[in-house]
Amino acid sequence: MTDKTPIVVMKGITIEFPGVKALDGVDLTLYPGEVHALMGENGAGKSTMIKALTGVYKIDAGSIVVDGKPQQFNGTLDAQNAGIATVYQEVNLCTNLSVGENVMLGHEKRGPFGIDWRKTHEAAKKYLKQMGLEHIDPHTPLSSISIAMQQLVAIARAMVINAKVLILDEPTSSLDANEVKDLFAIMRKVRDSGVAILFVSHFLDQIYEITDRLTILRNGKFIKEVMTKDTPRDELIGMMIGKSAEELSQIGAKKARREITPGEKPIVDVKGLGKKGTINPTDLDIYAGEVVGFAGLLGSGRTELGRLLYGADKPDSGTYELNGKQVSINDPYTALKNKIAYSTENRRDEGIIGDLTVRQNILIALQATRGMFKPIPKKEADEIVDKYMKEMNVRPADPDRPIKNLSGGNQQKVLIGRWLATHPELLILDEPTRGIDIGAKAEIQQVVLDLASKGMGVVFISSEMEEVVRLSDDIEVLKDRHKIAEIENDDTVSQSTIVETIANTNVNN
């Protein structure tokens, strides 16, 4: 395949946002008739790279050559005219129009009296047929067909503009197994017609099923381009998370495992807890004083399971026992009342309230549990704020500063303080150390261990397997929305144990 001329050559792509280099000299080469995957964890720069290729972002440095011609994209239209079509995760079509109108939008067939609708619909039918959608009448409203079919409609649209490159950005994240099979059949057909497909997915099995070649990114940097079939899974994961396979097995220095005394009752005992399309039914128990780690790649369901435990999403199956009592936790308020707290992975949008002060951010959850008509007396409030700012070592130690002016690490500490103020028995921390500096990271890790030793149950969710292994007593391994293993963490367990577990377990979706 390498003897072919590439259709897209991106070299040294650099994109800077205020204060951050989202991409730093990344290369990407696409060949006609191959499926190429862009691999990397969250924040690695995959979507920025795609937006550079589709003309959404302007590149600050580097070059893009499409079909032998150097290109300067000033918008999506430029990229489309160069033959690059994109199907985004959240399908970008117009639900107020019909299927046929969407396929042909901007490319309607014209006659002497403007758009000739009969010809336009005939053409739409032809393109839909190529996608195996001959049973769909082009007059059907787009809103009445499933997301999976909408995605195929979007691909049909790409064929209309005669795309040479088709970008599929996480097309499978909301599809079930059969729909994925259909999509892959279409992808193979499109690939065999000589189109280069750039595919992004977090599902490793799918990557190995459909792709020919991989480009791996990490932290906005190009790591390596490899052939899929020559790359073992653990090696791939190692490149994505930035540790070599040997390195992975060398990390030790873990905390001693908390042994569960026979007959001890768990705080939380859930059976078959799940939500369709989010996480499959899962059994789980969490004991007082225990740190339970959720490990898995992005999209594995680690966050989703945490949200279900807190009622941030409403489960549609399973039973939930809290200290031996049957409960139903369907919303965060009930969870808080039952002494469960959850700190989100999405610190900026779901965590802090930027314009409020540190003090207000700490008190808000406690106030919510008390009800809005029972204000916390000022003296008590001062004590609480003071206590948790000290305990969490929030800097600067000024409770009246708007939280948006604090560093990421200190915002995170305030957030943990907010949840501690509600005196939870179970604290769920989703990515508490993401995007914060090393010092704050270590402090937060220490807090996790301290809380557990005081008897709190902690769920620790992180994309960094190394810290999950170091902090957890038990590790729940998730993959493709299933819990695939529960590992009792002892000296024989290391990051590579988890990586191997993920790589070697097949999930039937």
Binding site: N81, T86, N92, C94, N96, G106, F113, I115
Partner: protein
């Protein structure tokens, strides 16, 4: 595909249901218009007179033009609040120029150009400075109204023998001995109908028209699909402001005079017509034909409430109630659509 026999039937069913769902508000406007005419005829006996129908069209041709114009921004989820003020500024300038002896054709061209300039200004504010259409056209509204007031606060009248008469002169189709049974029209009505047809062709038979609907569905999708969104936005706001100037020409030709306060609140009458005509205010669904019907429904409310003996002050309440009913109807339709 084993159920090949069942498929066509199912398809047909789907098709009619689709038509129903999107067109119900427009069809409702037709039904209500007819009902109002019948009710007026039954109770007062004048509503089916050819003279009544003629004057309904002649007197409200300007509103039909404004309603068609307003359909364009509303289809994208935007709005153009400046149309009433553009009627005022172009009317004041037009009559001043006519009094200065400028030939009528040139006056009309200048009026249309002034409209286009205000439209281009609004579009620039929206696209280049990222303003909400509401705010952008609110500011051009105040600007146009202000300039009109600076030019003159007097009541201005056309000089005798000006060629604006060409537009307002009534042409009789049926010359009845009883004047109230004359069927007649004027060039203003013809202009309104041409605008209506032009609006239909623009929206349904040009790519720009399809882009307008796509923006109403989802602007970001339209942009990602590579549609010329910016160009379409300029087309929309320049067209609606220019049509407002055209409505001004038709209106002052009919009335023969104008003041800087003419057209106050007309933008809202136009919005009301569009909404009554079944276009959804958040964009994406609607038809110009519905807007024209909405303008007629809006127009007929005045004589109807008057004939019922409802004090004139109450007319606006009736209009308000009708808009409320239509919006509720739209909600129901959208809710049914979402369930599918």
């Amino acid at each position: 595909m084993t159920t090949a026999t069942a498929t066509p039937a199912k398809k047909a069913a789907k098709k009619t249901r689709r038509l129903d769902a999107q067109m119900i508000p427009t069809i409702a406007a037709v039904v209500i218009f007819i009902l109002m005419i019948i009710m007026g005829q039954a109770l007062f006996g004048t509503y089916l007179r050819l003279g009544f129908i003629s004057s309904l069209f002649i007197d409200h041709a300007y509103l039909i033009i404004l309603a068609v114009a307003m359909t364009l921004p509303i289809l994208t989820g935007g709005i153009d609040l400046s149309v009433g003020a553009i009627v005022a500024i172009t009317a004041v300038i037009g009559i001043k120029l006519a009094n200065a002896g400028v030939p009528a054709v040139l006056v009309m061209v200048i009026m249309l150009l002034i409209g286009a300039v205000f439209g281009a200004l609004a579009a620039t504010l929206i696209e280049e400075f990222n303003m909400q259409p509401f705010i952008a056209t609110l500011s051009t509204m105040f600007l146009a109204r202000g300039i009109a007031s600076i030019i003159s606060t007097d009541s201005l009248t056309f000089p005798d023998n000006n060629n604006f008469d060409v537009i307002s002169d009534e042409i009789k189709i049926i010359d009845n001995p009883k004047i109230s049974n004359d069927l007649s029209f004027n060039l203003g009505v013809v202009i309104a109908i041409v605008v209506l047809i032009g609006g239909y062709i623009l929206l349904h038979h040009t790519r720009t028209g399809r882009t307008i609907y796509a923006i109403g569905g989802s602007r970001s999708s339209a942009e990602l699909m590579g549609l010329p969104v910016r160009r379409a936005q300029f087309t929309i706001y320049i067209t609606s402001a220019t049509l407002a100037a055209l409505a001004s020409i038709v209106y002052i030709a009919n009335i023969g005079s104008a003041k800087n306060t003419v057209g106050v609140g007309w933008e809202l009458d136009a919005v009301a017509s569009v909404v009554i005509g079944g276009t959804i205010i958040t964009g994406g669904f609607g038809y110009v034909l519905g807007s024209a019907l909405g303008a007629l429904v809006r127009s007929i409310i005045d004589p109807l409430t008057a004939d019922f003996g409802v004090p004139a002050e109450w007319t606006t309440i009736v209009v308000g109630l009708m808009i409320l009913i239509f919006v509720v109807l739209q909600r129901v339709v959208t809710a049914v659509g979402d369930k599918k």
